[in-house]
């Protein structure tokens, strides 16, 4: 297991957003976290990426305890994430947005910048090369010099992917990558996610578009009311009574109809 959580719990005031969740994310696989609205999926992401401190429980990455680490240090370990909204710098070019993604692998400081030291030159070349590489990977090499505000929503999602990839991660967390994307574009994004796996990355995503998930995920974890209610392969999830009930609701008549 690349990432494991044990007894992970997050309380906001009286509300338990994530309740005693234990999940394992396997290396080189696509893990999807699903659940009805308000099930605690985004909070779980925020805990793992260090954006919120957890109330209880532990998170380990390759056996190392990262529960108390802050988000920028977690990123340095090789854990990247994207947000539901892309948050990109709209009036800068795609390239400029992505170059900074490699900053965490560089050591240059203000002194290096002002005196253009060899280290800075080397690291700038590396950052630029990295940006070009990930932009090519996500299929945006031709859009590199356009402003982000001028490209499509789907392309923006790809830029967000590229930015995450520029940090040289081992695992990428994607928060609703297909939200706000038209159905035909969703397929392209799914292909891109598969491509990330082919390159040896591990992916964990939250998504509501079930058809996409069912065709994409190796492993699905279902949350409801902050608790893990099921996990397994897509086939197992689709026939799991508890999942069906969480999604379709438990109606008496439904039981009769069955």
């Amino acid at each position: 297991m690349l990432i494991e959580t044990k007894g992970l719990t997050k309380r906001f005031g009286g509300l338990v957003a994530v309740n005693d969740v234990e999940i394992g994310i396997e290396k080189g696989k696509i893990t999807a976290i699903i659940g009805p609205n308000g099930a605690g999926k985004s909070t779980l992401f925020n805990l793992i990426s260090g954006y919120h401190p957890s109330s209880e429980g532990s998170i380990t990455f390759k056996g190392e305890d990262i529960t108390k680490k802050r988000s920028f240090n977690i990123a340095k370990l090789g854990i990247a994430r994207t947000f539901q909204t892309t948050n990109l710098f709209e009036t800068a070019t795609v390239m400029d947005n992505v170059i900074v993604g490699h900053r965490l692998r560089t050591k240059s400081n203000v002194f290096d910048a002002v005196f253009r030291t060899p280290r800075l030159r080397r690291e700038e070349r590396a950052s630029r090369a990295k940006a070009a590489e990930v932009l090519e990977f996500v299929g945006l090499e031709h859009e590199a010099h356009r402003l982000v505000q001028d490209i499509s929503q789907e392309a923006k999602k790809r830029v967000a992917f590229a930015l995450a990839l520029a940090t040289d991660p081992e695992i990428v967390f994607l928060d609703e990558p297909a939200a706000g994307i038209n159905p035909d574009e969703t397929e392209n994004l799914a292909a891109l996610i598969r491509k990330m796996i082919d390159r040896g990355l591990t992916v964990c995503l939250i998504e509501h578009k079930m058809q996409m998930i069912m065709g994409l995920a190796d492993h699905i974890v279902v949350l409801n009311y902050g608790k893990k209610i099921a996990e397994g392969t897509p086939e197992e999830i689709q026939t799991n009574e508890e999942v069906i009930e969480a999604y379709l609701g438990g109606g008496d008549k439904h039981a009769e109809a069955e």
């Binding site: 609205n37 308000g38 929503q153 706000g180 058809q211 069912m214 999604y247 609701g249």
Partner: protein, 235 residues
Amino acid sequence: MLKLSDVSVRYGMYEALSDISLTVEKGELVVLLGANGAGKSTIFRTISGLNKPVKGTVEFNGESIGGRSASKLVKKGIGHCPEGRKLFPAMSVYENLRMGTYAVRGDKKETARMLEHVYDLFPILREKAKENAGSLSGGQQQMLAIGRALMSRPKVVLFDEPSIGLAPLITEQVFDVIQEINKEGTTVLLAEQNANAALRIADRGYVIENGRIVVSGTQDELMQNDEVRKAYIGA
């Protein structure tokens, strides 16, 4: 009484709704089913004037209302109990209900009558009338949101996922009240993820997927239909 014809809504380049056509007759209880992000809330927001359609018409009692402002539409009789409740957390339960009459304020007697009615529907609100909305439990907040939407004496009420985050028992209670409201003569349009519970009380329904209506039918038809399941869990 409510009719959407070929309505499309865009957020930038993204087509959130494409060619939605649906009707709700007077006195009906119609349910919109679909997973998160399918477009249910966008339909509601378009009906109540928070979003503007780029294409198509929205008619209410034969009058075209597409693109009108929300404040005007409340006056015309469209009540909207939104997803996430959108209460005024630092106001008391009573004050929240009173704000519900904002669009039709003036008639003190009617207001008092509606207040009694809401308190009768949800006795717990009467008990907690002086407490801040923010201090209520999730279920009570949902009841307050429903009550607030009723205070403007709407002809049609839109309930957007009232069961979110509620325990099954409370959900049942909330649905019972929605059914009661409908039986009293108010037309109801209900968006739900909780498909079975919603279908139990509905006359008819539409299944939304990716901003389109994929199936529509009566309660029984939808209960037997596999598309419902597919829209939710992709099966």
